[in-house]
């Protein structure tokens, strides 16, 4: 039986991890909601953002948090470009399938180019506050994890407000709900979809920066992320943002708690177990989603 302090620490860490998962999965649900696109390259962009943060810190001494001033607009632009230039070229009938292969190809490109530019060596940002930690009722929480969670919380709140309170958000949600009806109402769905894609990729820029704070990064790291993230959006129900957030929290917590008896590697299997259990018992996802089975 683990001690109370260890349990408490694991719960806190699970919460923090869940927040980061929620941020990253929200991008994936956006793409899927808007265009029925499963973006395999999302986690590759995540690692790309982490590398950019590392590179700017290494070369110019810029704090990773400031590097977002560069990466977020850059990724937004890349997302708009990706949707406009590549995804719209695919045939509508096979869009979902082919988009998986296309974004898979992009992921390979990013991984290969990162490996070529920075070699396969593992990299880590050395921050002044990197090893600092807080004591909270006997639990030790690294400051960088708190910062990462803070970033996720701010980004998700902004996303929520954007979706609920702005005209653009309404247009985006209308596009997600019913593309043709939205177009009839005079919404330029093509443009909205492009910007929606950009926002999704911008969340990857923020997530990647949060990741770079306390993770050792290497080019093929994105494979370790894609599995859990995909599991989260399937469990949450494809296309459902709240579903993804809940699933992220639950699974992040489960992973953190299972690490005590099982160790880090085997604890990872919780995502896949959840994925297969979801498919076996409730293919449309456990929370909210209703699109999943058809796509």
């Amino acid at each position: 039986m683990p001690s109370g302090a260890l349990l408490f620490q694991s719960i806190l860490l699970g919460l923090l991890l869940g927040g980061l998962y929620a941020l990253l999965a929200s991008g994936l649900t956006l793409y899927f909601g808007i265009m029925r696109v499963v973006m395999i390259a999302h986690s590759a962009f995540l690692i790309l953002a982490a590398y950019l943060a590392w590179y700017l810190h290494e070369r110019a001494g810029i704090d990773p948090l400031l590097s977002m001033l560069v990466t977020v607009p850059l990724f937004f632009g890349a997302g708009v470009g990706l949707q406009r230039l590549l995804l719209t070229r695919l045939r509508p009938a096979t869009l979902t399938m082919m988009s998986v292969l296309l974004t898979f190809a992009i992921a390979l490109l990013i991984e290969g180019l990162l490996g070529y530019a920075f070699t396969g060596t593992q990299r880590r940002i050395n921050l002044g506050y990197g090893s600092a930690s807080l004591e909270l009722f006997g639990a030790r929480i690294a400051v960088v994890k708190l910062i990462a969670f803070g970033l996720a919380a701010v980004a998700l709140t902004t996303l929520y407000l954007l979706m609920k309170r702005t005209r653009f958000g309404w247009a985006l949600r209308a596009t997600i709900q019913h593309r043709d009806a939205a177009r009839l109402l005079g919404i330029d769905t093509e443009r909205v979809a492009g910007y929606g894609f950009g926002i999704g990729l911008a969340t990857a820029a923020i997530g990647g920066t949060a990741l770079s704070l306390d993770t050792t990064i290497y080019p093929s790291l994105h494979w370790h992320w894609i599995g859990p993230l995909m599991a989260i959006i399937v469990v949450g129900g494809l296309g459902s943002v709240p579903g993804a957030a809940i699933a992220a929290m639950v699974l992040g917590m489960a992973q953190s708690l299972l690490q005590i008896p099982m160790g880090t590697t085997w604890a990872q299997t919780v995502f896949y177990v959840a994925l297969f259990a979801t498919l076996a018992f409730r293919p449309q996802g456990f929370f909210g989603g209703r699109l999943a089975q058809r796509f």
Binding site: R91, L101, G227, Y272, A292
Partner: protein
Amino acid sequence: MLNASRYLKIGAIVLLAVAVLAFPSVAPNPYILSAGVLVLYYAALSTSWNFVGGFTGYISLGHGALAGLGAYGTGLLVAKGGLPPFLALFAGAAAVAALAVPIGFAALRVRGASFVIVSIALVLILLLVFQSWASVTGGSRGLVVPRPFDLTRPEHHRVFYYLFAGLVTVALLAWWLIDRSRFGLGLKSIREDEDKAEALGTATFAYKLIVFVVSAGFTALAGGLYALWFGDLDPVFQFSILTGSYLVLMALLGGVRQLFGPVAGAIIVGVALEYFKVEYGDTPLHLVATGLLLALVVLFMPDGILPAIGDLLKRFDRTKRSSIREVSAAELREQRLAEAKGAAR
């Protein structure tokens, strides 16, 4: 009724068969011969993949993992179970086919993108298990599979070259038979419109499951044969998403609706992969090349090159329309409308 294009087709097949059979005799050195074995291995895998991908339209990125399971199944039965190699090969493949039933049962309940996600998850989870469960699988140290024959290296390559060629032939024959059967028709109806197929009384789920199991069995046979040939297994290579994506790339590039599409794709991509390995060694540029190739195929040639060549040939032979051409519902409707107009006149 034999017309020019039919003769051309038969001629091409005979030519291909002769070229494949003669290759070991003309290969200048054992390395080229081993590259030939690898290309045939890929051809066997992508043809096996095409049972699911070509007939039902379900794109699996996880077939690399099924091949890995076949390889490890065969390897473990030989190395730890002491079974004779070729008995182990078939026992391993049968075990993988049996395992494919529950996997398919879960994965085939969802369509399109969800199915692709599940197939990726399959690779990732098996990689995790085979790396961590070192007491059985050897983990990252690898698993050494004893060789089935006591032969010199070139002779060993030559024997396995013909074994793989045999496997490819059997797989092609099975694909061809399904293609012409009622079962194949049901599978293709799933590809065109699953809901309508189901409404018309096709047992879509059973059809999908059966073809998935067949595909898994062939994939595992290819993987097991690879284990016996190569003799050394490593989870990182056996359970790699990259292998799965190579298969998809090969099949798409060649043409998933064609019998010889995956083989053509395997020859092109397999040769390109070997070339990249020689030229760029261990640099990650082979990833870039694979990614670029995949993106180009998806964007500009989603039907594959065999249909593209077929269209080119058709230009020279306007008099005859190929009778086994597959038409989409929209094309059929247009054709009928045109006929009806003609009849009315």
